[in-house]
Amino acid sequence: MKEEKYIVFDKYLTNELTQEALTSFEDKLQSDAVFKQEFEIYKALNSSLSSKFENEEEEKKLRDTLSNLGSKYLTKEKVNKKKGKVISLVNYKQLMVAASIALLIGFFIFKDGNPVYNDFSNHTPLELVVRGENNTTTIKAEEAFNSKNYKEAFKQLSILANKNPNDTEIQLYKGISLLELNQYAKAEVIFNKISSGDSSFSNTAKWYTALSFLKQGKLKECKKTLKTIPESAEEYKQAKKLLRKL
């Protein structure tokens, strides 16, 4: 009896019931709630399994694509960040040595021992080429920025920014280039916009806002901005050190 029920389910789904059997089946669906529930499950299973097995190959191919993109965009970034951290740590040690020497000299010769922008302006190298397109603008922007040719970098980054208006990283580096060119107001507009957004660069942008103030000698504002960088941010340690020196 039970077995037959499922055969009828199957035939209904493949439109193979005779008119008479169909009418009686539909009547039963209306009147028998348990019967109806079982049929609903049977139908859902049929659709789910059918779709699953049919698309097995496609799913595999999609997974391959996604794995590639994932490591290209997410894991690669992780490597970058690690690299960035190592660089800044090494630089940081050198910087500490330099700073303490400067401080000592300052004690003896100068009265002013305030930290300066150049001590903290170690930018993580720009690496955009990974983003696929073999774009000469991208390459030019990278080369210019990483060789500290900020005027050219700004030019190329502006072209890129027009093409990718939503790319926060490009905006950030455009801001850094402006800061290097002493165009503080323009740079700060960019940093403020990124800081108030929810991208992963928002804390970096806060850090750069602080650096902009530092470079202009606005130490009070610099301090205030540094205090907005949360403990979870990568820039937190640097911010704390700079705060201590201010």
Binding site: L66, S67, R131, D167
Partner: protein, 193 residues
């Protein structure tokens, strides 16, 4: 309800077509804040990559089976799905001491609905898969073959049985599975779907 696709439905289409150019935009534009969220909450970039991939594969299946159409912006929909998936993952790992850092993502009723639709789809999908594995090996094989090869005549040929027997067995096995699903606790929570 009239389902008018949102412009961001291109991402759903890209999943169906395995269009890596458009899919790369998802990673470029929407993934960084998911990574940031996972990192803030006891995870690392690898965890985030898994969460993102599994969420996209689920949407792919939903689009294949249910013709899922996105009627709201992709960004918030995707972010919320990934976020909740990560919270579930943390629960599974038994990480009790985790303090979740909440963020103030505002979401519309419609987005919430689409997120729930996808989540329900996945829960059902997972339940079916779990129960499928409880079937005997023979039933599993037969169902797999029948669904992969649409023609039951061919299935019968491959398995070396008559057409009538293959048909009967298929509906029996699916019937068995129906019983397994019906008697599971989980099913009663999902009944609405």
């Amino acid at each position: 309800m009239n389902k008018k696709p949102h412009a961001d439905n291109i991402y759903i289409e890209a999943l169906l077509k395995n269009d890596s150019r458009v899919l790369s935009k998802i990673y470029e534009n929407f993934s960084h804040k998911i990574v940031a969220y996972v990192k803030k909450n006891n995870g690392n970039a690898d965890d985030a990559q898994d969460i993102i991939q599994e969420t996209l594969v689920t949407i792919f299946h939903q689009a294949k089976e249910k013709n899922f159409i996105l009627t709201c912006p992709f960004d918030a929909y995707f972010y919320l799905l990934c976020k909740r998936r990560w919270l579930n993952e943390l629960k599974k790992r038994g990480n009790k001491r985790v303090t979740i850092i909440e963020d103030n993502t505002s979401i519309t009723v419609e987005q919430e609905q689409q997120v729930e639709e996808t989540e329900l789809f996945e829960e059902q999908h997972q339940l079916f898969e779990l129960k499928f594995k409880e079937l005997g090996k023979k039933c599993q094989e037969l169902l797999k073959t029948s669904f992969k090869i649409k023609s039951m005549e061919k299935v019968a040929e491959i398995l070396g049985v008559t057409y009538g027997y293959a048909r009967k067995k298929k509906s029996q096995c699916l019937g068995k599975l129906t019983q397994l699903v019906k008697s599971s606790n989980k099913f009663h929570q999902l009944k609405e779907y």
